[in-house]
Symmetry: C2
Subunit: 652 residues, 2 copies
């Protein structure tokens, strides 16, 4: 493959513009900011925990000083109401120190975002300018020790006391303590606390309240509040995660973020949404931004890892060819196979992320009064699914890249130590990936039904009592007869064994439809047999997760394919098209057992898919350097000795 002539050079700038999308100016601003020597992170591994945390707070202040941290907030508080721009910036920060990234996410995204989304105009005006400037560091206190992903089951209480017109916040036991709360252990002065709202003895489900934690300039917790440091973590040591206990802590009635539920002075609860379940999910839905942001950050982390590993693979030579010249390891097909499909999928996820962010942005910008509920319900499984797939992709990519760099990749200065450790939690925070895919699967089964039920797996089983499954089963029954056909993709004349985009899309779509239909059938059959609902659910759970995954595969490929079509620059379009091909083929190759089992492709065609993946890798090899250059990660930000583009002297 070393004999392959180098193809015409790519227009890296044009490709980078395609990746950066509409918010390229924000992205470039963050690239420039992070390139400032003050953001150098080469020594953070040797800092003690508190020193690292204080460094991160100092960095966050510098970020806040740019004013960009207000970008996502409404105009009336001094922001630009530009959530897409804020997320674009956030994604770019993910090229740098990830503790800083998470601190930014906690302060401006979660703490500020909760006030923005759940508060009223007065609360927004009172808080957001101080949150955006970091004058008021705060926390998003949702997760509890006993319940992370099952938010509905939170046990902290906020009981209304009409005498003083106050809420009393309590942690009934250790299982109900708030856990993993970013900013809590050291810097946070106030928190949005999620608690079961109890008014006049009646519970109205989970609501959020503003609760002061510490006075300014005083490290100690306020009376009634106990704060504990979560201690050493696997990564993200620069983030001060903590635990919180509340013992009769009183806050005024106006501390309730009351968009979806309020209590008047007389102690009467009211909400614009009558059904508690629906209220809960609507409230939770407004917080989808965190999930979208984590997914985007994961894609960025994959890009960092690929930049390092591909540059290293082009640099590192091992074993001689017949002329006695050692060969760059990137010239071995097995090495291309390790890295280039992951590169193609990183491109794919970037474009799927653009579309997801745009959808979120449009919802948030929608004029007051416009009904966006359906769009929100479409966005939620998309955000959840993309977060799960993108964060798993990051874990896989970073690991593969580390190994592809051999010993050099194991030195801290390669950059993988921090990348691996810091991103590792992405798969389980902001919603555990498995639980998120379960949510996606359930949404697929209910077809965005009005009654959203609850997140519990048994809620899913409960649906089988309804008619939803019958509808799905019928809707997709037509497809079933295709099962007998041995290869739905007969070779065309002049095809040369390729697989057209339309065929790729067809295969990926069909898989989703079939999986959803089958899992519905199995759930229904299980219940009809009178089996225990939990047993039925558990038995079908892996199937449901596969259906959810296939849903994400489908919309990611659709996003990428549509983006290729929209591209106007011919050269850029050609290379994106090839990357889209590799991504699609890899997706099909990964699931080829399923296609074979269901007679969707023949054995011969399946082997051909593998050969096509090989071929695309071979074709993309000459562009490998350009394809990572297009990610536009400045050397100072990448902070990898072996991954730097500009090297003075011997990299080895």
């Amino acid at each position: 493959m070393s004999t392959e002539p180098a193809s015409a050079a790519l227009d890296v700038a044009a490709l980078r513009r395609a990746l950066d999308g509409d918010h390229h100016v924000v992205r470039d601003r963050v690239r420039e900011l992070l390139s400032d020597p003050c953001f150098d992170r080469s020594d953070v591994g040797s800092l003690d925990r508190d020193a690292y945390r204080d460094r991160v707070l100092d960095w966050t202040r510098r970020v806040a000083a740019t004013g960009e941290t207000m970008r996502g907030y409404p105009e009336e508080v001094g922001g630009r109401h530009d959530v897409a721009g804020f997320i674009a910036g956030f994604e770019t920060f993910a090229f740098g120190d990830l503790s800083l990234l998470v601190k930014i996410g906690v302060q401006f995204g979660l703490w500020g975002g909760a006030i923005q989304q759940l508060g009223n105009a007065e609360q927004r005006l009172a808080y957001l300018p101080r949150v955006g400037s970091l004058e008021l560091p705060g926390c998003f206190a949702m997760t509890e020790r006993g319940h992370g992903s099952d938010v509905q089951a939170l046990r902290t209480t906020a009981t209304y006391d009409p005498v003083g017109a106050e809420f009393v916040i309590d942690t009934p036991d250790d299982q109900a303590s708030k856990d993993w709360i970013g900013n809590a252990a050291r810097h946070g002065r106030e928190a949005v606390v999620f608690a079961q709202l109890v008014v006049g003895g009646e519970s109205h489900g989970v609501h959020a309240l503003l609760v002061p934690l510490r006075d300014e300039g005083d490290d100690r917790a306020l009376p009634g509040i106990r704060i504990e440091d979560c201690g050493d973590k696997l990564g993200l040591q620069g983030v001060d995660n903590g635990r919180l206990w509340f013992d009769g802590v009183r806050v005024p009635r106006t501390a309730l973020l009351d968009r979806f539920g309020s209590v008047d002075e007389a102690g009467v609860y009211s909400s614009p949404i009558e059904s508690p379940g629906r209220r809960f999910f609507t409230m939770l839905g407004t917080l989808v931004q965190g999930r979208v942001s984590v997914g985007g950050a994961a894609v960025s982390a994959s890009k960092s890892a690929l930049t390092i590993a591909i540059r290293h693979g082009l640099d590192r030579r091992q074993f001689e060819d017949p002329d006695g010249t050692e060969v760059p390891v990137m010239d071995y097909l097995a090495h291309q196979r390790r890295l280039l499909p992951l590169l193609a999928t990183s491109y794919a996820l970037s474009f799927a992320q653009h579309d997801t962010v745009d959808a979120l942005d449009a919802i948030i910008r929608a004029p007051e009064g416009e009904d966006v509920e359906e769009r929100r319900r479409e966005l939620e499984p998309r955000a959840a699914g993309l977060k799960a797939v993108a964060t798993w992709h990051a874990t896989e990519t970073i690991q593969e890249c580390r190994e592809a760099c051999g010993g050099a990749g194991y030195l801290r200065d390669a950059g993988f130590a921090a990348l691996k450790a810091d991103t590792d939690v992405f798969t389980t925070f902001e919603g555990d990936n498995t639980v998120l895919l379960q949510l996606v699967g359930k949404t697929l089964l209910t077809g965005f039904r009005d009654d959203f039920g609850n997140l519990s797996p048994l809620g899913t089983a409960g649906f089988v009592a309804g008619q939803v499954l019958d509808v799905i089963v019928e809707r997709t029954a037509v497809r079933q007869v295709l099962g007998a056909i041995s290869d739905v993709l007969p070779r065309r004349d002049g095809d040369e064994g390729g697989l057209e985009r339309a065929d790729q899309l067809e295969l990926v779509r069909e898989r989703e439809e079939h999986l959803v239909s089958r899992v519905a059938q199995r759930l229904r059959a299980g219940i009809k047999d009178g089996r225990d609902p939990f047993e039925v659910f558990s038995y079908c759970q892996p199937h449901l997760l596969a259906a959810a995954r296939s849903h994400v595969d489908r919309f990611v490929l659709e996003s990428f394919a549509a983006r290729v079509e929209r591209e106007e620059d011919a050269g850029t379009k050609a290379i994106l098209d090839r990357l889209c091909d590799l991504h699609a083929l890899r997706t099909i190759e990964r699931e080829r057992a399923w296609y074979l089992e269901h007679g969707r492709i023949s054995g011969g065609r399946s082997k051909e898919v593998t050969r096509l993946v090989d071929r695309r890798c071979h074709e993309l090899r000459p562009h490998a350097a350009d394809l990572v250059d297009a990610f536009g990660i400045p050397d100072a930000v990448l902070a990898s000795r072996i991954g730097a583009k500009d090297v003075t002297g011997d990299r080895w």
Copy 2:
């Protein structure tokens, strides 16, 4: 599945004896030793690098004080010639701090092992007692900056100077500097240095020499030697890896470890093995113990991770069942699917490891003069393949277990932080896994031919010029006609959809044979077409790696199946049989696309394999706690808050 009645309790002690094997006494001794509070490692994350390294040296001294570190050495130097026992101990140390493990491996295994295997009786007597007691800390200086896995291409030189009857050691340039050398940065006082031996202007290939690095009680390097610290690593911070440069360093003629090549006083080189290539591979082959040890350590690390995650999964309850009781996450099929197949494979690898260690032990114990070359050649690909598969298994298992524990798994006190970081290098040290599988693949192609050629991928392509491939192609041609049969495993009466052990073995064996045959055909066809050998090799490389992997899959399953047959205790046999089933089914499920593509199984049977994996998971679920208890990792050694067996108070 929570409705499943608990099965009869297992005999955990009997199961543990099966896992521990012949050397259970050694294993128990290490368990006891590591349980001593002095080996507590809860604070190592907060130690600075040098303090951690000195702690590890101190620990190593305590280990040496037991005398067990001499166990593998010959009787005449005070050892027991019990390599299998030494490795059993080493595998048990892998339940504890992994920097200590690697330090033990470097000092007693690599540094001592090189002298044992490559030196003469005099050298062994002069050195091994001081190595085994840690009186003389030393290094194994093989890897160079420019060449890790390609040892034959090392560039350090040892030039014989007949005037003083000395060798002069030189590092020609930075690429030839020794890199990653354990014990070099801080504690090592002497090293086995691998260098190209040049006598009278003629090069005789890579040989090993004893070279002093530092005087006792003096940190500085001796004249002509430059030592650099490798610096911070992703993990294993307690090991002092360093780099070495030699500038005209003189050592006496007798410093050459001369088992496979010596120089007499007159400056005449002689060797018992004439062919330089064969000499090199024979020499390298004697060092296979390191690889075998790493593979075993990787299996132990998987066991630690599974112990933590399974105990956590039994403890942690999430989401309510219809009675309002929260369900242990281990009761969800998706959770069982994540952990139990990895558990079954950890059992499988344990038994394959036993067999591999026994084969190594028998070779080392063979009486002087007995020809063990063929057995060595059989052992090498087995050791290489098992190391690759076991270390990848460890990486996968630890990651899966970390995620399965959610946030609790991300806290340092869960144990995954160290496990992940420290084991990460296992996949690329002691031979990069991909290079090792390539070696295995090549061995399969050559059928243990006499002329071992070289490790280079192009050496592989070179074989196509010979007749070897024709033989393989013919040998397996009979199999090819089976390709047309749609399902080689027709359902038997009363089968109930199971897959007998014989069927499992048949499927796994067939895959290996077919893959080896096909890759041989492809290589031959490529060369006959007159294509560039490198291109042909690169093109077939993923196929070759798959063949190698299938070879390992085969002998691992054979080891496990044979072990089940040998088990005499009925209860233990029954549970091992079930685990073997799950392991085999999982192996087939993972490769089911291949079986389908090649018409080896029908689509229906393939889906059945998936259902059988589900069913085995469900059946093994009640035994999950016992199955990890049988690993016998004391709480003090596991050092995991959430993984401890005995908990006082609330684990949460």
